[in-house]
């Protein structure tokens, strides 16, 4: 498939202007930052705390913002115009994901800074966070493609925010209820696991399993998104 940087950049520019004027959606980016500043002051610095914040950012920013952006393109019939243009599926989905990706990274960076999270191995954590964000953006795209309006989108994305933000509670519950053991394979819990190992001195080679599981989620979610998108191209 052909990728055109010019087209992706055009979609990014357009989304940036649109997003900066769309206060109803753009307001969510301040929530994780405010929480981070608050927790930083309280001196909360366990890995679980930091990753509740990071996973919340993934849910509220990566998934929610992306879901609303895609749903609005559908609701306002602008996605149709993109689809009918020479832009490829990769141009459109990539272009539509770029803004969310940049915002997510900025918010994660600032909230980690404010919450005073200093990973023992920054390189491993950066790769893990970038990789994880792809999963949430794909998930947001998928939910956006399913919803008919921004309103519907903002409702169906809620459970995602809750499930993924409060991952550490699921992990605790899983100790009591073995049926929840499977939840340990969720990308948010794998990320926490990975981060904990990094704090204990792990390098890239020690967290390959966690990386592989997160990568599996990323590939599966992107694949599903492209399939659904292609289906939506013809009514």
């Amino acid at each position: 498939m052909m990728i055109s940087l010019k087209r992706m950049n055009a979609i990014l520019q357009k989304d940036f202007k649109d997003f900066s004027r769309n206060y109803a959606v753009s307001i969510v980016i301040v929530i994780p930052i405010l929480l981070a500043a608050f927790w930083g002051r309280m001196g909360a610095d366990s890995i679980d705390m930091h990753y509740m914040l990071i996973n919340m950012t993934f849910g509220m920013v990566a998934a929610f913002v992306q879901c609303c952006l895609i749903a609005e393109e559908k609701e306002k019939n602008t996605l149709r115009g993109l689809m009918l243009s020479p832009a490829s599926t990769a141009d459109i989905l990539g272009g539509k994901s770029l803004l969310t990706f940049i915002i997510t990274m900025v918010v994660v960076f600032f909230s980690a800074y404010l919450a005073e999270y200093k990973p023992a191995n920054v390189a491993v954590i950066v790769v893990a966070i970038v990789l994880s964000s792809f999963f949430y953006i794909a998930l947001g795209t998928l939910l956006g493609l399913y919803s008919k309006s921004v309103l519907e989108a903002s409702v169906i994305v809620m459970p995602v925010i809750v499930i993924f933000s409060f991952g550490s509670f699921i992990a605790v519950a899983a100790e009591k209820y073995p049926i929840l053991q499977a939840a340990n394979y969720l990308p948010n819990l794998q990320l926490i696991e990975l981060a904990a190992k990094v704090e204990a001195g792990a390098g890239f080679g020690d967290v390959l399993v966690e990386f592989a599981i997160i990568l599996g989620w990323v590939i599966a979610s992107i694949f599903l998104t492209v399939v659904i998108y292609r289906k939506r191209m013809v009514d």
Binding site: A10, K14, D18, T78, G81, P86, D235
Partner: protein
């Protein structure tokens, strides 16, 4: 002459509704082809099939000599432009920014923006936010967007439905100029006047079928009852047959200075539509 659109036995059935059943027609390269029909007759459905937005239930539809399923390819998409009621714009962005995006998507220089805005009479308005525009202005921006890459083939679904007569006229002039430069236009309308002034050929669509297809001129001639109406100075209107008997009576009226006006009685496309389908257009 080469056909740019070829449709045969085309049908589209939705879950519980037949939108079009067995439609056949072709559009020649360089013509303005009008699809005339009341609302619900299947005009939009046909355009959606021809632009690859809907898959037909049966039959074949070819555009540029290829099956419409191939329109997914970028090389074909570059060659046509579409305006339908589901062509949306970005409301929070200005007219200019909306068109700028499309310049990038189609690899067109930004200098084209002023040119197309001129064609739709919106050059002065280009900094305005789209959400603040009237319905007619929005429709003109959408039209400008469909033209921006100078497509070979333009699909216009009721392009002037929200416009006032002055703007419609301006758009008609623009479309004719575009057509003279070589763009083939496939246009749907329920405005018989628009079809008459703009189209080289028109098809009457009713209940998902084409009931008549010809040039507006030939249609009007073949449905004309060959009479003329003479309005006399005393206010009386007399209908005369076109033959020698009518000529003699007309000579008599003229000779005695009784004639106020003379009209030939050719039907409008709207009249013919009612006669053929038993339905009104609008």
């Amino acid at each position: 002459m080469e056909n740019i659109i070829e449709v045969s036995s085309l049908a589209k059935v939705f879950a519980n509704q037949t939108a079009i059943e067995s439609v056949d027609f072709h559009v020649k390269k360089g013509e303005i082809f009008g699809f005339l029909g009341p609302s619900g007759s299947g005009k939009t459905t046909t355009i959606k099939i021809l632009t690859g937005q809907l898959t037909p239930t049966s039959g074949t539809a070819k555009v540029f000599g290829e099956s419409v399923s191939l329109l997914k390819k970028a090389e074909y998409r570059r060659r046509f432009g579409v305006l339908t009621d589901n062509s949306g714009l970005y409301g929070r962005l200005s007219i200019y920014d909306n068109l700028k995006l499309y310049c990038d998507l189609y690899d067109v220089a930004y200098s084209k923006i002023d040119e197309v805005l001129d064609a739709v009479n919106l050059k002065q308005e280009k900094a305005k936010k789209v959400s603040a525009l009237s319905k007619g202005m929005t429709q003109r921006v959408t039209l400008a967007r469909a033209l921006i890459h100078e497509p070979e083939l333009l699909f216009l679904d009721e392009p002037t439905s929200a416009l006032d007569p002055t703007n419609s006229l301006h758009i008609h002039e623009g479309l004719r100029a575009l057509n003279e430069k070589g763009t083939t236009i496939f246009l749907t309308t329920h405005d018989m006047y628009e079809a008459e002034v703009l189209c080289d050929r028109v098809a009457f669509l009713n209940k998902g079928q084409i009931q008549l297809l010809d040039t507006p001129d030939k249609l009007k001639k073949s449905y004309s009852d060959s009479t003329i109406t003479v309005e006399l100075t005393n206010g009386e209107k007399v209908i005369l047959p076109a033959g020698s008997e009518g000529a003699n009576r007309l000579f008599e009226y003229m000779n005695t200075n009784q004639v106020e006006t003379i009209h030939t009685n050719e039907p409008t496309l709207g009249d013919i539509f009612v006669q053929v389908t038993g339905r009104k257009l609008a």
